[in-house]
Amino acid sequence: MKLPSDLWIGAVLTGIGVWALWEATGFDDRSRTYPMIVAGLLAVSSASMACLSFVRNQEQLALAGPLRAALPAGGVIAAWAAALSFGLGFLLPTLLMQIALLWLGGIRGAIRILAYAVLITAAAYGLFVVGLEVPLPRSRVPGLM
């Protein structure tokens, strides 16, 4: 299905605006006026953007790159964040994330990837944990830092 990008992005934003407007009606009297105005304006202007896409700016989104490169990277980061919050420690998830991101970035060769990943992980550990003394999430697995 091919749709002009402004049409469906306008539709999504209109949806968000309408949802925020509806949600805001449940706030108390003095807290709702401002978000209702902002949400209403967002819905109206997004809807006009969607409508205008019929008369001008029929560009399609070039989604191939984002889907093939950015989306997997987002997934990798989400997996890392989940592992960190779950308590798998810092070093192992970070090393795996770096390996995945380096591969997605186009670096090839197992040894090169591993070397870069170890280097980056160690540098980040040095900067944040040793240097800035940031407390890391507690690890559930004994022995994993």
Partner: protein, 522 residues
């Protein structure tokens, strides 16, 4: 004069001046690492400052504060990832210029502009602090509302491409800023019952995601596109020659003066912040560029490597640094969130900013003031040393490997703000949203301005109306609130000028296209 000499003698004690220089170098590094900014660095440093004498601790902080604003421009220009929020706009023209093979020139313009803005603001701090502090006191709820409107209006000049999308972007920012407990009644708005959202979406992770993570996605897709088209992946721009010539310097003088003035005025006003200063001065520089240089032979278009696009935001963000100390030192009111951390550092050493500081600890107060001047003088050579050594080797890292580095720095920087895993998700989602907005060609700038000014807009509006008993006329009352009336008039002038410009543009376009369509057969 005696007191200024007292400041200098405190500063030039052995150890203190050295620490100031260390602070400048550290600030350049901190500023140029995406994900870490002066705010985070201070938060980490304040505990450490316990162990050292107050002169040294504060000299170090002044050095870091001045230099971080300048350091943010380095990655903004080299890889289009702003090192700090204040380099957000520098990334546009700066990176464009770097991709044309003139990275050194762009960096040099950025640093020189920072130093000039910084020196201007240190002189203002040195000479006009008491006067300007009284000016800041005239800003009540009414004036703060008008200021927020003026700040939001500063983006209209930049929206020539697509006005509607710019407005949508600003509205996204304003709506996002309403998340959290309502200041007026304490009602939880859009918090989904999460305690992490009580004070709104955590701001540092949000900003880090909006430009750091989004820029990482962009870099990744660039590499993917280059690889798919069969070309070798282009390296990072080479820094090259750092010279930019006297002719250009002369041309930038008006931009520097105007941006430094705007930065100084905004810096003095508590709650306005660095971002508003860079947007206002960027807008002014864009107007000037369009009027004077656009379309001339040899000139790039705005946003594609115009030197004014680098000079204006950099001069403005550095001009905010020292001037944000004006209300802090004279009244005890911090000008922005970074200068607020100076309160913590002073308190740890048993000092409180405000008039008492000058009477009880005059040597410290005046040392801070002169340290800003000296820090900016050190900054110029220091920045070139950092560029020639550290930056040259850092940016020799292959672009492909930088993706992971930027991601990790940004995510950990977000996490470090409160040591909370929730922040990582905020940064990731903000990055995805910002990248999506980029794909949809919705500009990010208005959204960030909306985020920063949203809370001020709503609270000052509701408080002003609460005090006035619901009368809207107070905002344009020329007798009791002349500053508000003048700022609102200026804001409407921005809009009128922009509307006139769009009208003229569309008329020119229709005049230009009409003969063509007449001559075509169908």
């Amino acid at each position: 004069m005696d007191v200024i000499a007292l400041g200098f003698s405190t500063l030039f004690a052995p150890g203190v001046i050295l620490v100031l220089a260390v602070g400048v170098f550290a600030g350049l590094i901190v500023g140029s690492i995406p994900g870490i900014n002066d705010n985070i660095a201070f938060a980490m440093f304040i505990p450490f400052s316990f162990a050292i004498p107050p002169e040294q601790a504060l000299a170090l902080m002044v050095g870091v504060y001045c230099a971080a604003a300048a350091g943010g421009a380095i990655p903004a220009i080299m890889i289009k990832v702003p090192g700090t929020a204040s380099a957000l706009l520098t990334a546009v023209d700066g990176n464009a210029m770097a991709r044309q093979g003139k990275a050194g020139k762009a960096l040099s313009i950025a640093i020189t502009s920072s130093v000039i803005g910084g020196i201007a603001s240190s002189l203002v701090l040195l000479v006009f602090a008491p006067t300007l502090a009284l000016f800041a006191l005239r800003f009540g709820y009414v004036e703060n509302f008008a200021l927020a409107i003026l700040g939001l209006s500063s983006v209209v000049g930049l929206l020539s491409a697509n006005v509607l999308k710019g407005v949508i972007s600003a509205l996204i920012g304003l709506l996002t800023a309403t998340v959290g407990f309502s200041l007026v009644t304490g009602y939880p708005r859009y918090t989904f019952d999460s305690v992490n959202l009580i004070e709104g979406i955590p701001f540092v992770p949000l900003l880090v995601g909006l430009f750091g993570i989004a820029a990482m996605f962009e870099l990744l897709v660039d590499i993917w596109n280059e690889r798919r088209s069969g070309k070798a992946v282009s390296g990072l721009p080479l820094i090259g020659s750092l010279k930019f010539g006297w002719a250009l310097a002369r041309r930038l003088v008006p931009v520097w003066s105007l941006s430094a003035t705007i930065g100084n005025l905004i810096g003095v006003l508590p709650g306005a912040g660095m971002l508003m200063a860079i947007f206002l001065s960027y807008d002014q520089a864009a107007r000037r560029f369009r009027r004077r240089f656009a379309g001339k032979p040899g000139e790039k278009s705005w946003g594609e490597g115009a030197p004014e696009g680098i000079a204006a935001p950099e001069a403005a963000n550095s001009a905010v640094t020292a001037s944000s100390m004006v209300p802090l030192l004279s009244l005890g009111i911090p000008g922005n969130s970074t200068s607020a951390l100076f309160i913590g550092a002073l308190a740890i050493h048993g000092m409180v900013p405000g008039p008492l500081l000058f009477t009880q600890h005059g040597h410290i107060a005046w040392m801070i003031i002169v340290a800003f001047l000296i820090a900016n003088l050190i900054l110029w050579p220091a920045a070139f040393i950092v560029l020639k050594s550290v930056s040259r080797s850092v940016f020799a890292i292959p672009k492909e490997a930088l993706v992971g580095v930027i991601a990790l720095l940004c995510l950990l920087g977000a996490y470090a703000d409160g040591a909370n895993s929730f922040n990582i998700w905020v940064a990731l989602i903000a990055g995805i949203v910002a990248y999506g907005m980029r794909l949809a060609q919705i500009p990010l700038g208005p959204a960030i301005l909306g985020l920063v000014l949203g809370p001020q807009l709503e609270s000052s509006l509701s408080n002003a109306l609460s005090i006035s008993g619901g009368s809207w006329l107070i905002f344009i009352d020329p007798v009791n609130h002349p500053i508000s009336a003048a700022m609102l008039a200026l804001a409407s002038l921005f809009w009128l000028l922009a509307i006139y410009g769009w009208w003229r543009q569309s008329r020119n376009r229709s005049l230009a296209t009409r003969p063509q369509s007449d001559s075509s057969p169908s």
